[in-house]
């Protein structure tokens, strides 16, 4: 159901050549390669097996199949993470259309020393860029896409600038709306970058266009923007553009949400029980959320939230008992006529029928106290503890007295 979307998915980013055997991501755990059956010659023509011949430990098994494993658990922590905003939706920045316009994760991959360029910052033609433009807030802080701030972009944009400055002689321009260096040591890092000679331009870039070809063959890009600090329009020629894509909820977040019956906030991320006092548990008992599944956040915040959720889960495990809300339905056998209307209504199948007595009975552990059966019982034999008919009618009388 959920997994279908990701089946046969190629490596996350597509810098450099791809082979049918690949490690899904740099940080995969376990870090083992997988075979993409849709492009592997062996699976397509039934006769290659070159990789099996060269693999000394004989680790390649062509008969492995996807399997679904069912595990009984008492508590679940949802950390499904995020997707990045697809920048090709904003055609003005040329992502996917112009060469040398990269998304943040693609550039991150380029910086990786085990990445496709071995950590070198290179344009598509393999040359070192003479200048790099970093554009903030692509899809975030934008009422046409996501109104929220993605929180991490300012800092990784500064990190990009720092590393690119370190590894190349390129001039670096940051196009930002506001600089949000909010965490411990962040503001200091920002000051350091200013001293390193990174050019900060306050104003969101309007568009990226291709400038006339230069003699060395690299089509130089032109970033158009308004510099709001000097109140002038500027055109900045660069060889490479990095877009700071917004963090957005996973495409299948709604499927996960319904599976666990948890809510989402207006921005589409999973909703916590309380924004300040209970930011890691949800309205559903035993379901916890952490990381970017709950909202955009950086690594320290994610680690803090996930640790908090893990501690909470462990505290329940060590207690060995689960506390339930006392809100439960209860059937008075005296009045139950045994019509069994309630039996089928219960979404949790918590109501059973006692054949000998010809009455229905609620299983206290399964019942969640929704009260659907209470409202439906024609004999009013079912009481919802805490929300009984008498209590609600008394509330009504009180409310309508004046």
């Amino acid at each position: 159901m959920v997994l279908e979307d990701y089946k046969g998915k190629k490596p996350e980013f597509t810098l450099g050549p791809k082979t049918p055997i690949y490690v899904p991501t740099m940080q995969s755990i376990p870090r083992v390669p997988v075979i993409d059956a849709t492009s592997c010659i062996h699976f397509q023509t039934d006769g290659c097996e070159t990789c099996a011949k060269v693999c000394e430990p004989k680790a390649i098994d062509y008969d492995m199949k996807d399997e679904t494993v069912e595990i009984d658990v008492g508590q679940i922590l949802i950390t499904t993470g995020y997707d990045i905003f697809d920048a090709s939706q904003m055609a003005q920045f040329g992502y996917g259309r112009l060469d040398n316009v990269y998304s943040s994760l693609e550039f991150e991959m380029m910086l990786n020393s085990t990445g496709p360029t071995g950590g070198k910052v290179l344009t598509k033609s393999g040359k070192e860029p003479r200048s790099i433009g970093i554009i903030h807030c692509i899809g975030s802080r934008d009422t046409n896409h996501h109104p929220y701030c993605s929180r991490v972009c300012c800092m990784y944009a500064l990190k990009f600038a720092h590393l690119a400055h370190d590894r190349t002689n390129a001039a670096i321009y940051q196009f930002y709306i506001d600089m949000r260096a909010f965490g411990k040591g962040y503001e200091e890092f920002y000051s350091r970058l200013l001293n390193e000679g990174v050019t900060m331009i306050r104003g969101k870039a309007a568009e990226v266009v291709e400038a006339s070809n230069r003699s060395d063959g690299d089509g130089t890009l032109l970033v158009r923007c308004e510099d709001t600090l000097i109140g002038k329009f500027r055109e900045v020629p660069v060889d490479m553009v990095i877009l700071c894509n917004a963090i957005e909820p996973r495409k299948d977040a709604d499927v996960i949400r319904r599976l666990f019956s948890i809510s989402k906030s207006p921005d589409g991320f999973f909703l916590e029980r309380h924004p300040k006092l209970d930011p890691t548990s949800t309205m559903s008992d035993g379901i916890y959320i952490a990381g970017c599944a709950q909202g955009p956040k950086d690594i320290p915040d994610t680690v803090a939230q996930a640790s908090s959720a893990a501690a909470r889960i462990l505290s329940y495990i060590s207690k060995g008992q689960v506390e339930l809300d006392p809100v439960r339905a209860w059937i008075d056998e005296k009045y139950c006529s045994g019509c069994r209307i309630c039996n089928n209504l219960c979404p949790y199948s918590a109501i059973g029928f006692i054949e000998e007595k010809k009455v229905s009975k609620v299983n206290d552990v399964l019942c969640k106290g929704c009260g659907t059966c209470v409202a439906a019982c024609p004999a009013s034999a079912i009481t919802g503890k805490g929300f009984s008919d008498a209590q609600i009618l008394a509330e009504l009388e009180g409310l309508l007295e004046v």
């Binding site: 909703l271 929704c370 009260g371 609600i392």
Partner: protein, 149 residues
């Protein structure tokens, strides 16, 4: 004195009640005519509560639940929907305009939707005028009694 409608609202604990709470926390102004009763699920709202509310002097009843597919109890909101459809038919035969009963799906994050619905519904009931159902019933009984006598 201008007519101030009395509106009883049954809100489910997980979506609409939280949504209405959010409207308050976000300082969105909404009419004080709405008097809220919290239930765990919109499926808990017994149709007799609605009738009782009208009898006790309510001019309108608002039921709020989670969006379809979002019910904390899987499907309580669908049950509320079925009951409201039947109840509306029943209200008509009682001589109560079905517009006086409204079912809305408002999620926990929709404080602004709550505000809009609350204002809209209050204005609608204000236009419909007072119901005075109890007095009408008593009047009818009196007429019947006189006819018998």
């Amino acid at each position: 004195m201008s007519f101030e409608p009395k509106i009883v609202a049954f809100f489910c604990n997980w979506c609409t009640y939280t949504g209405a709470d959010l409207a308050g926390v976000s300082r969105l102004k909404s009419p004080a005519n709405i008097r809220v009763i919290r239930t765990m699920c919109s499926g808990r709202v017994d149709p007799s509560f609605v009738i009782k509310a009208f009898e006790l002097g309510a001019d309108g009843v608002l039921i709020g639940g989670c969006h379809p597919g979002d019910c904390h109890y899987t499907e309580g909101n669908y049950k509320a929907l079925r009951r409201v459809h039947l109840l509306k038919k029943m209200l008509q035969s009682f001589g109560i305009d079905e517009k006086r009963l409204r079912l809305e799906w408002i999620s926990a994050s929709e404080g602004d939707v709550y505000q809009r619905v609350a204002i809209e519904f209050t204005e609608q009931i204000r236009t419909l005028g007072p119901l005075n159902w109890k007095q009408k019933l008593e009047q009818r009984d009196k007429v019947t009694q006189e006819m018998i006598a």
